[in-house]
């Protein structure tokens, strides 16, 4: 495992990728994001076969492989199913600390991810206790909404295990 040394150490060529994309979200996600942006509501898409209410909404039920049909409003409150508190900085990702949780909104069959606010993250032990699974959260909308998943986040309501 010898490292070949030149007089000034290994020869390194830098590289970088800058690639721009414009993702069309499709009609199903567009309806979801439009409701977030214009009406501050969260909608799930229900499978007519198994009855699951999917958030984020999908055009097809990925279990039954049939087209989903009805839109059903879910939330605005829900329960924490999993969370993490990120303390490590990663290039290209937000400045830590921040908390991300999966939350089952009332009436939904699946859990939806988003950032959680309203928790002091400075002490990991205290913060993780506050966010414990089973905690209740509510959807809180941003003042300026752009039809993105970040138009809302979760706000901790209090422990209700």
């Amino acid at each position: 495992m010898s490292e070949t040394a030149t007089t000034s150490g290994p020869l390194i060529h830098p590289g970088e990728w800058h690639i721009h994309y414009d993702y069309a979200v499709g009609d199903t996600a567009a309806r979801f994001f439009t409701e977030l942006r214009d009406n501050m509501k969260v909608y799930a898409r229900r499978c007519p076969s198994c009855g699951r209410a999917f958030v984020p909404p999908r055009a097809y039920c990925e279990r039954c492989f049939v087209k989903t049909t009805d839109w059903v409003e879910v939330g605005p409150e829900g329960v924490v199913e999993a969370f993490t508190i990120v303390y490590e900085p990663f290039d290209g990702l937000p400045v830590p600390p921040y908390a991300v949780a999966y939350v089952t909104l009332d009436g939904a069959s699946t859990a939806l991810a988003n950032f959680v606010t309203g928790v002091d993250l400075s002490d990991p032990e205290v913060a993780s206790e506050a966010l414990a699974l089973g905690s209740r959260v509510a959807v809180a909308f941003a003042g300026k909404r752009e039809g993105m998943i970040t138009d809302f986040h979760f706000e901790l309501l209090g422990h209700n295990k």
């Binding site: 994309y21 969370f83 993490t84 990663f90 290209g92 970040t150």
Partner: protein, 393 residues
Amino acid sequence: MPTKTAIVGVGQTGYRFKRTDVTIQELAQDAAAKALEHAHMEMADIDAFVIGVAPDALIGIDNVDRWIGQALGVAHRPQLRVNTGGTTGAAAAQAGYVHVASGMFRTVMVLAADKVSETPDAQWVLNTAMDPIYERSLALNAINMCSFQAVRQMSQYGVTERQLAAVAVRSRRNAAANPYAHLRDPITIDDVMSSRYVCWPLKLLDCCPRSSGACAVIMAAEPQAASSPNRPAWIQGMGATSNTIYMGDKMGPGRDTDHADWDELAIAAASAYERAGITDPLSQIDLAEIYAPFTCTEIAAVEALGFCAKGTGGAMGEQGMFDMGGPMPVNPSGGVLSANPISATALARVAEAALQVMGEAGEHQVPGVRRAVATGIGGTLQFHTCMILGDDA
């Protein structure tokens, strides 16, 4: 009936943080040359190639399999790329096995190489593998997706951070005997517990490193395999499952598997066990090489493989069940926590399991191995593979 197939040669470069002395295709050449030498074969003896390459942006070369293939001198023979994220190397082994077991090819080289350390942005790259519409802007990456598993294990089963730490300590202890491992310095429970939180509850020492290295495995059909100068490691069973990319679908009331568990790996294992005639894994398997990039993932895996009951993997590990010399040695090589050249990581599990069956694992050889299991996982814990290797066909 599938053609009986065995691994007859293994080549590993050894895994290190950086390899500034070689390009990625030169790394691949070194692993291939070692595998050929081990198998007492020449490149002309190989009928087809399966090359595992995980997401391109991890190394910043688009479709590097094109470079690797030509570097191996594949001319006039088939070459196929496989990519299933972290599972890549094991999925490549799965594809290689099907190549031979189908009767279409007598010999196949399965090879994977990576130089993940050439970008500091691996977690950013893995973030780009998330749904760009619904989830990417939520800063999800490979570490926090496993944190979601760990926090559910802690809540549902009472897994403790000390139990997680015990996995890391054992991995390093084993790695000390494996010259190919990247991280070989012993660590203590206190070292792990006092390391900084990366994504709570996972701390720095609960996490795998970023490594560079390559691994190659040569598979051959009977009778070529039976006449190998090495003891062949016969592929007795293979299973694989896929599931949703949406982790939230494995948490809400509509879930049919749970993100805390690896019910998907249990399905893959059931398929592999059935083919291998295994009904009691604890007594019929001698060791496991498990793809566990984080401590919590190993706990889910030992349960899914049927070594202990669901919810008990953490406690059993803490009590020494998976130590060298214990009832079921797990990751004698030191595992993924001691070396993670992403594309090659899951293939290294297959290679190490094969070496154990061949009796050639060196200082970390488990005595008297007749059968070993190797697993792979990838995606948002969505792809799972399980391969059984044994000393008879």
